[in-house]
Amino acid sequence: MGRYILKRFLMMLMTIFIIATLTFFLMHAVPGSPLETERTTNETIQANLEKFYKLDQPLYIQYFDYMKSLATFDFGPSIKDPNRTVNELLERGFPISFELGIITIIIAVLSGVLLGILAALRHNKLLDYGAMAFAVIGISIPNFVMATLLIQQLAVTWDIFPPATWKSPMHMVLPVLALATGPMAIIARLTRSSMLEVLTQDYIKMARAKGIKPVRIVFRHALRNAMMPVVTIMGTLLAGILTGTFVIEKIFAIPGMGKYFVDSINNRDYPVIMGTTVFYSAFLIFMLFLVDIVYGILDPRIKLHKKEGDV
């Protein structure tokens, strides 16, 4: 187990290194420059700026300099926000994005699994149809449309929640709902179908015959197996929520990381592009790694070290 984790960890570092290198050269290959705008000032000023940000150096020198500072977790200065380093931007933005993401995941998983179980237990009854209709609606409405509907209805018309920003728990309700609906619906559908399958299996019948309480059967015996497909897609859902926050943060004016990520690309703010990309990918890779470990805990049949050959 320890060896496996170490190996996976080294692979993670390797992946991040490759991502950083690719991003660096791709971003410089794209035409445009952080200093070129509609309102170009004179050449001296342009040269002063280039020198200031070391953009006048050859690309390979910039690359080695960057990799060197990356190794010490120094992401460098932002070009568009000259008073702050990329590290500061990440320190400021990430906790907020993380908060939004983690609340969303908890809400999505809890409500999705509950909804799925409920639908499975009431198979082909009104509740089942209701839950699945709800799930289809949830999957079909993109989160940005959901966000606008929520703001218009719950914030502007009924005035229950504040329309935007991120200050109190009340401010969190709408963005979390908008972001959680899609993943929740997917989880609900998956839970339902795998639950239906598991409930027909012999060991469940056996448990029933033994007179174990239905609630215990569902949550202790059936759910554990039924959760496997849900855990499998957690990785994809995490990536979805991570990218979903870009849009939701913009709509709700949440000062998270998504803004830096999107704006940096439009502005060709090289250090911020690098910083956010490397950070996001490191985070995602780490989360996938965690999902893998959870997988093993849920199903002891899957031995982590057996997977070495596949990876």
Binding site: G32, I45, T157, P255
Partner: protein, 544 residues
């Protein structure tokens, strides 16, 4: 357990149903939301604005954009300030003496002009601030605005020294500035935040003084009370300000919401006092009693590349320009209350004769189908073309640019019978390729840096980085050069008008519309100044 689940599910269903009903009448919502109630601010007058983004920098020399300078303009103050007619008047300076030759300015700074920390504003603070701006190490993008001052350009380009810049503090309250040439707009130019003073002791001790509210020292009507980065910042009235008696607001709260739809919804939910107008709603909201439409000095236009066929021919350039119906575009396409542009220089510049520059120059290009057709025919004959070389219009990706380009495509087809192609390019790529002259005809914009027609016209002198058309005309260059050194303002004005006419005759560009500033503002808010050129001024703003 089961009952709880049923309840939960029902709550979820109710919510979905609510969301569905919302979508049916969403279109009608705005009309309802307009009756904003007066804000409850506990008796204090707090104006709530949206700055869209984190200010680039509150270092006066760095934040060369509206998101920095709209706020900074109220935290600090230069020697002069724009009044309600957008004319420069004395601010930190009490009196201004201009020498006979128009080159030397002597400013007397008010005795009671203080910094927010209680210290007095000294002439040396201006010297310090201006040298900071011109220092090549600062890499200020706005340093070129200081080139009117003798020695400034040399210092900024690394050829001179700070001591050679002719900005001298004769004593604590006297500042003497020498210009390279008489510059009529100088008092206007120095209203720009770039020319604000910097509290020398603070900045020397802590070069990062402008990055946090705690260390920020200003001399304007408001002081920076708190600044939560990327979220909001708060102004409080600055009691140390020399004219504090006339500042009516107790404070200003600035949100940072970078989405016009969200901004508008916050305005409707009464969380903001001022909002911009989402593009999709502009047509409906134009009639609102809360709307304010003001000129902004700047032009939306297309550049030709005069080195690429068919725009090598002047008559072809003119033909395309005369085929554009600017009135139709502003009325039916942009629908944002802009004024159609029949020349390059926008409205809002009054000459020595009291007339607006634009009115004196007249309508130099106006939709004329017959003339356009004839010009195209003549142009093609001159060049000996049987068919017109293919034309592509390029613009940076945006919905507004797209619909305007599509309208132009249609108008060229209707009037000239020419099929032009459209190309949409990502904006950073667009900026680079346009500067490299890779487009035949491309969308552009110009916004004034200072309030004088010469600022717009000098864009097209040979070698200017704003030119980007490859057009070069010695006569035009000469007119601009002459206007810049001319001491007689009437003669200077005539030269500029001549330059404008020449530009519109040679037509390296064709104009579409002038910019404006459209805002929704709650009833009860007054005195917020927005100038055609310049930044938001809240000094006399009030809120009922």
């Amino acid at each position: 357990m089961k009952k709880w689940l049923v309840l939960f599910l029902m709550a979820m269903m109710a919510f979905v149903l609510a969301a569905c009903t919302a979508s049916q009448d969403a279109g009608e919502e705005p009309a309802e939301g307009e009756e904003g109630t007066a804000a409850e601010t506990g008796g204090e007058k707090i104006l709530r604005l949206n700055n869209a983004q984190e200010p680039t920098s509150f270092d006066p020399s760095i934040g060369f954009d509206a998101v920095s300078w709209n706020a900074l303009n109220n935290l600090m103050e230069g020697l002069t300030r724009l009044d309600e007619n957008s004319q420069p008047v004395e601010a930190t300076a009490e009196s201004i003496d201009i020498s006979e030759d128009g080159k030397t300015y002597t400013f007397k700074i008010r005795e009671d002009a203080n910094w927010s920390n209680g210290e007095t504003v000294k002439a040396s603070d201006f010297v310090f601030g201006w040298r900071h701006m011109l220092d090549p190490e600062t890499a200020s993008p706005a340093a070129f605005l200081g080139y009117f001052i003798e020695g400034a350009e040399a210092y900024n380009t690394g050829e001179g020294s700070a001591e050679d810049v002719k900005v001298v503090a004769e004593d604590d309250k006297t500042l003497v500035v020498t210009l390279t040439a008489p510059t009529e707009a100088f008092l206007n130019i120095i209203t720009n935040p770039n020319f604000f003073p910097i509290h020398e002791a603070t900045a020397t001790e802590n070069p990062e003084w402008h990055t946090e509210a705690e260390s920020f020292v200003g001399n304007g009507p408001f002081k920076l009370a708190s600044w939560s980065h990327d979220e909001e910042f708060v102004f409080e009235k600055n009691e140390e300000y020399w004219d504090a008696a006339n500042v009516k607001l107790d404070g200003v709260h600035w949100a940072m919401v970078n989405d016009t739809n969200t901004e508008y919804q916050m305005y409707q939910a009464d969380e903001l006092d001022v909002s911009s107008v989402p593009a999709e709603l502009s047509e409906d909201l134009m009639e609102s009693p809360e709307i304010s439409i003001l000129d902004q000095a700047g032009t939306y236009f297309y550049r030709y590349n005069v080195e690429e066929e068919p725009f090598t021919n002047k008559k072809v350039r003119q033909a395309f320009a005369f085929a554009v119906n600017q009135e139709d575009i502003v009325q039916y396409v942009t629908k944002n209350g802009e004024k159609p542009a029949h020349g390059f220089t926008s409205y809002g510049f009054e000459g020595p004769d009291g007339n607006d520059f634009r009115d004196t120059a007249g309508d130099l290009v106006k939709f004329d189908a017959e003339k356009a057709k004839q010009l195209l025919e003549e142009g093609m004959q001159e060049e000996g073309w049987e068919t017109l070389p293919e034309v592509t219009l390029t613009f940076s990706t945006s919905d507004t640019h797209q619909i305007i380009a599509e309208t132009l495509q249609d108008q060229f087809k209707q009037t000239l019978g020419v099929d032009v192609k459209l190309q949409s390019v990502e904006s950073a790529v667009f900026a680079e390729e346009q500067s490299a002259f890779e487009y035949q005809a491309s969308r552009s914009s110009f916004l004034h840096d200072y309030a004088d027609p010469v600022n717009a016209l000098e864009s097209f002198i040979t070698g200017s980085s704003m030119n980007r058309t490859q057009w070069s005309n010695p006569e035009f260059d000469q007119l601009i050069a002459d206007a810049k050194t001319e001491t007689d303002s009437q003669v200077r004005w005539e030269k500029l008008i001549e330059a404008e006419k020449l530009l519109m005759d040679e037509m390296p560009i064709f104009p579409i519309h002038f910019y404006n500033q459209v805002q929704l503002q709650k009833e009860g808010v007054s005195g917020v100044l927005r100038h055609p050129v310049g930044y938001l001024d809240l000094k006399n703003a009030d809120k009922q």
